[in-house]
Symmetry: C2
Amino acid sequence: MPTISDSTRGEFALIEKIRNLSAPVPEGVLGIGDDCAVLPQKDGLQSLVSCDLLVEGEHFVLDRISPRELGWKSAAVNISDIAAMGGRPRGTFLSLCLPEKFSEADVLEFIEGYNALSSRFSCPLLGGDTTRGKLLCINVTVLGECPAGRAVLRSGARSGDLICVTGPLGDSATGLELILSDRSSDPNYQYLKERHYLPVPRVGEGMAIAKAGAGAMMDISDGVASDLRHILKASSVGAEVDCGAIPMSTQMQKTCASLGLDPVEKALCGGEDYELLFTIGEQELKRLDVEHYVIGRITAGNSLVWKGSDRDYLGFRHF
Amino acid sequence: MPTISDSTRGEFALIEKIRNLSAPVPEGVLGIGDDCAVLPQKDGLQSLVSCDLLVEGEHFVLDRISPRELGWKSAAVNISDIAAMGGRPRGTFLSLCLPEKFSEADVLEFIEGYNALSSRFSCPLLGGDTTRGKLLCINVTVLGECPAGRAVLRSGARSGDLICVTGPLGDSATGLELILSDRSSDPNYQYLKERHYLPVPRVGEGMAIAKAGAGAMMDISDGVASDLRHILKASSVGAEVDCGAIPMSTQMQKTCASLGLDPVEKALCGGEDYELLFTIGEQELKRLDVEHYVIGRITAGNSLVWKGSDRDYLGFRHF
């Protein structure tokens, strides 16, 4: 999920006001406005930092997700922000506000899931804070690093670049539909539920995409329809997206058909896929040896055109 | 306030279990268990990281503290953790869970107070996250740095070291008594209230104390009675504290007298003073040119003796 980001509505309007109130950041530091903040180190590396706050009743419903799944996902969505810059995660910090109903056994199961995901990326838990409170709240701060000057920002998309994603979209949102409507009899329930609860951040992919020379990158937390707009705004460019080229899993398409849902809308607007969305030149793309799907092209100007559809798509709105 | 810390009761027993479940940290990294985590950089510096979660109803009561005071204090208690390692703060990350009753004007007043404190230490807000929720929750992560190998840990106290603090103790807890009992007519109300709501982390003092060669250091968040025990346990030493040598302000002593409170107990157990508690050899102390008060001495063994008092003192208990 993005850290404090620039936009003009809801959460983002407030964040813009906070940014305007705050002191300018030092030379060489990237503050509010991308997936991570970027701080120079003095030895050819940059530090990357991001944080996310997950709150019961807003981001999850406690009786619909197991503590292990919640722990896994809390770590995953944060490490994904490091992947979105092309960085390597180094460690996380976890703050937990624990209500009485979340037992010690629940906490330890949460940590087990948190560690199961984190250990895949050699990203240990380094510290944090715990407190009592009436709601379960989870804040994760993740630290990462990348070679100096190599963090892939939202602002680097250039006219003519191809727009790509690293995997099928819409699985997570379709899984959430099944979870919320208690359709565990759906033949794709298990697959889609896992895609919603147990996302795997694209860390290796992000580093390879950065190395290949991507122009801009972010992770897909709110949906391409929303997330691509952040790249377009930050880069002062437009885009044409080919709605027929959006990668979607067979499972997700079948379930959408049986539920009467528009799969393209789920894929573009559903969010929480935690695949990477990136822009890259055609020559640079030839060097890239990770799974990817070309879904469109960056254009001059500032329009966003959905080719093959007669409608506009909007992403998840926070506030 | 401490990050995840080691002890054997309440919050700390849970944290110990979390630590035991988690992956070992890489060589050269200090994880769970001090005021900050410490990560090596490759250029002769170390990164310091700490985070704290403040929750409405647990750490503050919204109608007793102004948004500006809450913003100031949220930044101060976190930057204080960097001071406690002898480090220089570099920037903070702020996650806010915002209930409806906390208006946009409240948020901006909060940020104004947050920035007023942070800007004293050239420590800009670099990122964060905002979300809606039923309770006001505030998580701050602070990044700092110090020369490699120079972070002052809790584990470095040696028998014979003097035990010192950087300023008078108990003002904050006595101020809280006045606030909670609505005694704004007390002649020291304004002074003690500010000491509670507007603490100033001892950043310059912490760097000077580190440079002078302190053995161990932490900031006083839970009270000397509790915080000193963390140093003793981490360093495998004991201590004698001279209760007659505890520095206390005239205002605090007068107010305690008028309320019938034991000032020494407030000073040792009240907490939230955010002064620094450190141990240092007698020769090293001669080099130190910042305000300080010698309150006792580190001893061999593992006993904690309160000289000049016939009772034991315990600090704030989290859970």
